[in-house]
């Protein structure tokens, strides 16, 4: 009888007791998250139910929903809505831009082109977020590269610097690689046979895309959208650099409340908003079956 291959004993143990396997795979990350990250977060988010007395600057340790009353007023609701709309717009934009690119990379390009494209998509990530956003200021400002190009093409000057449009463009630009990579991973895994079969059954290209390609690529799109959506929800640097006078996002208000006002409770209240939004988003995505393989 052949001796059992290495690791067989451990394998048997783990096979007999599935819960041990679950524990073994899940406990290191869970322990990590719970001990250091979650505990400190919970402590901080609990302060949302406290207030800071504006006259003494003392934190009042009594339960209060005053922060939430303040949150549900016009200004903050507008800011929250604006953040969600921009995040959604960026997600949709990046999905549309990324899909054909990822499809080409995964199914049409030869191996060498694929490698070059992969390098190309990852490379800008290394050119410092800050430096790239600063370059966009030069592109979008009055008399900047965009305006100059348009004028050379006879299209007239354009000045979209410091607007919500500028913010939308820059966000879409910055998060694009985070959408392309998961979508590419997902499309890459689609067996060619499925797509060929669809063609054999008489479906024209667009039908195949709609009924076979997109549903199978959906997990990748969802993974990418988690990045684009949540990263936009919490960002304040891009609005600060390229936004205009109506471009305050949730991140900016948290920034000013944490430092400027020492109003940690209200900042914590604001921080609950992206968490709630992402919870709803993920729940919705799951309900739509985006996470299950067909």
């Amino acid at each position: 009888m052949r001796p059992a291959p290495a690791g067989a004993g451990l394998s048997r143990l783990l096979w007999r007791h599935p819960w041990l396997r679950g524990l073994a795979t899940l406990s290191p990350p869970l322990a990590w998250f719970l001990v250091i990250y979650l505990a400190s977060l919970v402590v901080m988010l609990l302060t949302a139910f406290w207030t800071v007395n504006p006259f003494t600057n003392l934190m009042q340790h009594s339960f209060s929903t005053a922060n939430f009353s303040q949150l549900f007023t016009g200004t903050y609701l507008t800011i929250i809505l604006r953040t969600v709309v921009i995040a959604a717009a960026v997600t949709v934009t990046d999905t549309i831009v990324a899909l054909p690119f990822a499809y080409f990379m995964a199914r049409v390009a030869k191996a060498r082109t694929q490698r070059i494209l992969f390098t190309a998509i990852m490379l800008p990530l290394w050119a410092s977020y800050l430096a790239r956003v600063y370059a966009w200021i030069v592109i979008l400002q009055k008399g900047g590269v965009l305006s100059w190009s348009f004028q050379k093409l006879g299209l007239g000057a354009v000045n979209i610097g410091y607007t919500n449009t500028a913010m939308w463009i820059v966000f879409s630009y910055i998060w694009l690689p985070f959408m392309v990579v998961p979508v590419y991973s997902a499309i890459e895994r689609i067996p060619s046979s499925l797509l060929e079969a669809s063609g054999d059954l008489g479906a024209r290209n667009w039908r195949t895309v709609r009924s076979v390609l997109l549903p199978l690529a959906l997990p990748g799109i969802v993974a990418g959208s988690i990045f684009t959506f949540s990263l936009t929800l919490g960002d304040f640097i891009t609005p600060l650099l390229v936004g205009g006078t109506n471009s305050q996002l949730i991140g900016n208000v948290i920034y000013s409340n944490i430092g400027t006002a020492d109003n940690l409770p209200f900042a914590a209240t604001l921080a609950l908003v992206p968490i709630v939004i992402m919870t709803l988003y993920l729940t919705g995505a799951r309900a739509l079956g985006a996470f299950e393989a067909l």
């Binding site: 340790h61 650099l241 400027t260 020492d262």
Partner: protein, 393 residues
């Protein structure tokens, strides 16, 4: 058979623990209106350097020009953490600097928060010989000296000036009213800082004397509301509320804005790049900022900290800093050195201006509910921040 793994139970256990911790861990920020560290001991002499010094500073406040000679003569290796806003400095200094940082170069809008928060401790001003050469109004200003105790040493300062394009304005605008004027709609920029409400109040002090504003940082509710209303009406005229000095430089260089509130730093950088701008202090006066090097309550290297304070208040270093950053030294003897570095810079930064000039500048201080008149009906800073969010969003 599927075993139902229950990580959620583990989660609840940790959550319960966290709640207990939260309840017992106590509050974060400030104490009441007494400075918690008021009676902390101050040294009588400066001992041997500890070999290291950790600073929280504005960008440009620890340049190799004066850091290298400092390290060479004291042996204190300087590590700097750059902060972008006073707010960030306050956050970083929480818990007395967290046993990490020794000094922080806080501006007036942060000083009182740090003092009343117990994050900084008094110093022995007698150990800083250059202090005697300071301008009188910066030796014991109300934003860093409480009850006779110095919570740090003044460093440099500057006014918030009116910056304008000389192409649009043939002569310096005489009044701050230009930045509230529809004539320049879409071409105005002001700082993105709640303390700007004080600038509006300063303007209203002259423009609406019926409001009886005397101190732009101590505003009663009606006075505050008037300033906020003015800023809200200004909102559609503003192109951008600038957060970084480099942003405003970009705005003026591209011609996107033609007038706005700025620091002399922006004026001088733009002029150096041949952009046609100039600045002025209009007739209503101006707000200003003054920085103080404050000592952290739990500073791990206090001797190096004192040595730093001694070093950066000397005339030569004061001049080097003033030239790099574009501000005015507290030390009156720095003028000569400034002109040696850059001819005419002493006058450009008003380092030799008479006392009367400085009287027109209302320096930043944290707005508190406690007005100077013994009453407590002034609007506290938290409300300034809320109002500012409404104004700028």
């Amino acid at each position: 058979m599927r075993y139902r793994f229950q990580p959620l139970t583990a989660l609840f256990a940790i959550l319960a623990l966290s709640v207990t911790v939260a309840v017992s861990a106590g509050s974060s920020a400030a104490a009441g209106l007494s400075a918690p560290e008021a009676n902390a001991s101050v040294p009588k002499t400066v001992g041997k350097g500890e070999g290291k010094l950790n600073l929280i500073a504005w960008e440009g406040y620890a340049q190799p020009e004066w850091v290298k000679p400092f390290t060479a003569s004291t042996g204190c290796q300087v590590n700097v953490k750059y902060a972008g806003t006073s707010s960030e400095m306050v956050s970083l200094m929480a818990n007395g600097g967290g046993h990490q940082y020794d000094l922080v170069s806080a501006s007036g809008d942060a000083d009182l928060r740090l003092i009343y928060g117990g994050d900084v401790r008094p110093i022995n001003i007698g150990l800083i010989p250059s202090w005697k050469q300071f301008r009188p109004f910066l030796q014991s200003p109300s934003f860093n000296t409480i009850g006779g105790k110095h919570y740090g040493v003044s460093y440099e300062f500057g006014p918030n000036v009116l910056l304008y394009s000389t192409k649009t304005f043939k002569a310096a605008p005489p009044s701050w009213s230009v930045i509230y004027s529809k004539q320049y709609a879409g071409k105005i920029t002001i700082p993105d800082n709640p303390i700007q409400i004080a600038d509006a109040a300063l303007y209203l002090e002259s423009a609406k004397p019926s409001l009886k504003i005397t101190d732009p940082y101590e505003l009663t509710q009606p006075q505050f509301n008037a300033a906020v209303a003015l800023l809200k009406s200004e909102h559609p005229l503003i192109k951008k509320y600038w957060d970084l000095a480099s942003q405003e430089i970009s705005l003026f260089q591209s011609g996107t804005t033609v007038v706005g509130a700025a620091w002399p730093y922006q004026t001088n950088t733009l002029k150096a790049n041949k952009v046609a701008v100039s600045d002025t202090i209009p007739k209503e006066g101006a707000t200003g900022w003054a920085d103080t090097w404050m000592l952290a309550t739990n500073a791990p290297h206090p001797n190096c900290a004192y040595k730093w304070m001694q070093w950066v208040t000397t005339p030569k270093v004061q001049a080097e800093e003033a030239d790099y950053f574009g501000e005015t030294p507290a030390n009156t003897q720095a003028c000569g050195y400034m002109d040696k570095i850059a001819k005419g810079s002493c006058a450009a930064y008003h380092a030799n201006a008479p006392q009367a000039y400085f009287k027109t500048i209302k320096f930043w201080k944290t707005p508190l509910a406690q007005c100077g008149n013994g009453k407590s009906d002034c609007v506290p800073f938290q409300d300034w921040v809320n109002a500012w969010t409404q104004i700028t969003s």
